[in-house]
Symmetry: C2
Subunit: 203 residues, 2 copies
């Protein structure tokens, strides 16, 4: 399965600026992307990084500085066969979870992200297009129906957990196994209990 992994190489992970400085955010984002590429390959996918600017990755990199949806839609339009889109910030993505998605039946397969996002898509039809703006999971369900397809949804916490905000870091610490989890630990992050859910804190 050909897999596109969109990566913001320009201003990665700005919503983490309260806890990581510019250089750290870049390292963190690249580290997550490398973990995702490993999991994609282990699940049988052939990844291409679709980056907003040049970046060094252990996979082919295609640079497209347009907004995310336009860049991904060009890839979908050009695809000869099934194409998957896997977000680069899925720090908990395992080969098993991605394998469940790649193996799922259906012309359009969707995996919801927390807060209304769409973290993984597989399209096996020529005319499905994405729109990542707003409540994208609802839009993608509707777009699939609009082209005559009932979307298959895969229920995965590992893939629903994109890492955008400081509160997400604890998920990486508790459940991650890749280099990005190690990266966080090395920088002093650890789980800390609060009144409600556990958050990540730094020394």
């Amino acid at each position: 399965m050909d897999v596109v992994v969109p990566f913001d190489a320009t201003e990665p992970k700005t919503r983490l600026s309260a806890v990581l400085d510019d250089r750290e955010r870049r390292e963190f984002a690249e580290s997550m992307c490398r973990d995702v590429l490993d999991s994609v390959r282990a699940a049988g996918g052939e990844p291409t990084v679709l980056a907003t600017d040049s970046v060094e990755m252990d996979a082919p990199v295609a640079v497209d500085d347009r907004p995310l949806s336009a860049a991904v839609n060009d890839r979908l339009a050009d695809a000869d066969g099934p194409l998957a889109v896997v977000m680069a910030d899925l720090a908990l993505a395992t080969p098993e979870a991605l394998g469940r998605v790649f193996d799922a039946d259906g012309d359009v397969v969707l995996v919801a992200g927390r807060g209304g996002g769409t973290n993984v898509i597989v399209s096996r039809i020529p005319d499905f297009r994405v729109d990542y703006h707003g409540v994208s999971i609802a839009d993608h369900r509707k777009r699939a129906l609009d082209v005559g397809v009932t979307p298959t949804e895969v229920d995965s916490y590992a893939l629903a957990t994109d890492v955008d905000e400081p509160e997400d870091l604890v998920e990486v610490l508790l459940h991650g196994e890749g280099r990005v989890t190690e990266w966080l630990r090395e920088r002093g992050f650890e789980p800390a209990a609060t009144d409600g859910r556990v958050r990540a804190s730094r020394d």
Copy 2:
């Protein structure tokens, strides 16, 4: 499978007090619990509500006003066979997701909740005990290993999503299909895009 569904009948869902008043929180919590009971039964489970006070539910109710872990551990100690513990606030719990857990191999099966919690447990051994305080998923992994069992973990967003805080309501609106989703819609909640993730807002 016997299934215990712990329910706080005393002060349910206090962390939702910014968006729901006392009476609404009680209705909301009871409505979620009823949805969970439906899904448990549809997945082949036989639920008992383990409540801190008397409450009317369409299932047997056992009242135990001790802290959650003590009450659940008494049930585990008394169990004749496999016992599952399913939290009452899993508004997205589907029969399919619970079925994956009930059918999973292993003497101890765990499903992580967001923020370090443990939302579903199956124990098929007599000596596993719970501790829901703090980072319970990490504690439960360790406790399983301490009694010689490698825990099986089931990867489910539907079951990872317990509804505790205002930011969780949007997940119910976007993915839920039960009476609690209808309850929220009737009270004017709808998904609203923000700068980051989509949240629920009320007219």
